[in-house]
């Protein structure tokens, strides 16, 4: 294998790259998002400067079922997203993500800095209840429930598609071979080619269990605001650097 072939590889290992080059297309990507209010001081602590957390103390706990994802396959994800602002612009900061498939873990971390770990999330309809669970290292750490297609969301699929075009951002940290930071950036991306097939609201409940390596409960629930369920097709493109800690901080 020569230098040109090596530089054309999308990822490690050379023998069978974990992930191809993007963008990545997702079909029938199903979300359940339970929004809740948490402690504002803890939220400030969980959000890296120069991002500013939303003043209402709102957190979104998500489950995402991805049955058909180009390059990545069939998997499920669960985690925490915090609405923030960057220099006044609204952005969604992804704080924690847990999933059951290695290529999107590696691609997520290495390309965009999605803070992904391996775990066992599930999103399924259990009789009348849309149910999300997350097991980490054998233990249940999160359970969310909402009514099944209880009420169509006001604004419908158009409003939801517009909302999903909002900028998202991650803290990307890649160490150098000596352990020092080689890449330390806030990166941003915007989903494209979004088609929403349905969006529903309902009351919801959420249980988060303290766990050191899956610390979803570190932002405790003061009050559950509600649940949202939607199904979509979308494209995840490459991103851009918003802030470089090694150059700008």
């Amino acid at each position: 294998m020569n230098a040109e072939e090596i530089l054309n590889l999308p990822s490690m290992p050379a023998a069978s790259p974990s992930y191809p080059r993007g963008p990545y297309r997702f079909i029938d990507r199903e979300f359940m998002i339970v929004s809740y209010e948490t402690d504002r001081d803890l939220l400030r602590e969980a959000v890296p400067e120069p991002l500013e957390p939303n003043p209402e103390g709102q957190v979104m706990y998500e489950w995402i079922r991805m049955p058909d994802s180009s390059g990545f396959g069939d998997y499920t994800e669960s985690g925490i997203v915090i609405p923030c602002t960057f220099q006044g612009e609204p952005v969604n900061y992804t704080a924690q993500m847990f999933l059951d498939d290695e290529p999107p873990i590696s691609a997520g971390r290495e390309i965009w800095g999605f803070p992904k770990k391996y775990a066992e999330p599930k999103l399924e309809v259990c009789s009348d209840t849309l149910t999300g669970t997350l097991h980490y290292a054998g233990q249940l750490v999160a359970m969310g429930t909402m009514g099944y297609k209880w009420q169509r969301a006001p604004g419908g699929v158009e409003a939801q598609a517009k909302g999903m075009a909002k900028t998202s951002c991650n803290l990307k940290i890649i160490p150098d071979v000596n352990g020092d930071a080689k890449i330390c950036q806030l990166v941003a991306y915007n989903l494209t080619e979004i088609e929403v097939k349905g969006v529903w609201l309902s009351p919801a409940r959420l249980q988060l269990i303290p766990h050191v390596n899956a610390p979803v409960a570190d932002l405790p629930i003061k009050r559950v605001l509600g649940g949202k369920h939607f199904i979509s097709n979308l494209t995840l493109p490459h991103g851009r650097v918003l802030f470089d800690y090694l150059k700008d901080a």
């Binding site: 050379a14 023998a15 590696s106 930071a181």
Partner: protein, 246 residues
């Protein structure tokens, strides 16, 4: 979190870094190494230049890692291709499969260990030291070796030399636009190696072709033999020996 604290994080995520800073010490790290000969043309194709092939023997190894500081308890399977870099004998780690995020993410992000998620098991089944690897629910490799047939050997010089050999990985990390940000050959040398025991003996290896876990792409011609070891060691940081972007 303040910017200065962000810069000091060992890894993502901010709220629970996946791996701490190294070095990483391992206790009772157990190996089953099965060496075999394969097609030299396939070895050449699998080795990144400027690494040069040495002979036609490669190895598949199973590791049981019950106590890795900062990393926990897990198992791994790896394919290793002996080679040379500027005349120095090295081992190129071409594929690696683990069942635990900290070594998977830390391995890729720090050194470029070519890790994917696979379910490796190394255990003694009755009279047989047995390694299996499942990838995406399918069994893709089975290695078997006789159990401690040469039980009274005390000289582990050959094993220590083997473990001291420089490992080379190909570290590839894309930039945010998908183009390469890091493309390096990284050299790693274990430190503080202790060999608690080492045994050689007959072995067999079966590999099943699988596109995302292509161990069988270096097919078995002849089995050279099996090596079973129990060791302690420290995995330190690495050094860049070749930069494809420089």
């Amino acid at each position: 979190m303040k910017k200065s604290d962000v810069k000091a994080l060992a890894s993502m995520p901010l709220q629970s870094p996946t791996f701490p800073r190294g070095p990483y010490k391992f206790f009772k790290r157990q190996y089953l190494v099965i060496r075999y000969t394969t097609d030299p043309a396939l070895i050449r194709a699998a080795l990144p230049e400027p690494l040069e092939p040495v002979g036609d023997t490669v190895a598949v190894q199973w590791l049981d890692l019950p106590d890795g500081e900062g990393l926990g308890a897990y198992s791994a399977t790896a394919q290793v291709i002996p080679c040379s870099f500027k005349g120095e004998p090295c081992n190129f780690i071409s594929q690696m499969y683990v069942d635990n995020t900290p070594p998977l993410a830390g391995g890729r992000e720090i050194w470029g260990y070519p890790m994917k998620f696979g379910k490796a098991v190394l255990k003694v089944n009755a009279d047989t030291l047995t390694g299996t690897l499942h990838y995406a629910t399918q069994c893709v490799a089975t290695g078997t070796m006789v159990y401690k047939h040469d039980a009274f050997r005390k000289d582990y010089a050959a094993e220590k030399e083997r473990l001291a050999r420089t490992q080379i990985t190909l570290k590839l990390i894309p930039d945010i636009d998908g183009t390469p940000a890091i493309a390096q050959l990284v050299a790693i040398n274990f430190e503080d190696v202790v060999v608690h025991g080492a045994w050689t003996g007959r072995a067999r290896l079966e590999m099943v072709p699988s596109v995302n876990c292509p161990l069988a792409d270096l097919p078995v011609r002849d089995i050279v033999g099996g090596l079973h070891m129990v060791t302690d060691m420290t995995l330190p940081y690495g050094k860049v020996v070749h930069d494809y972007l420089a």
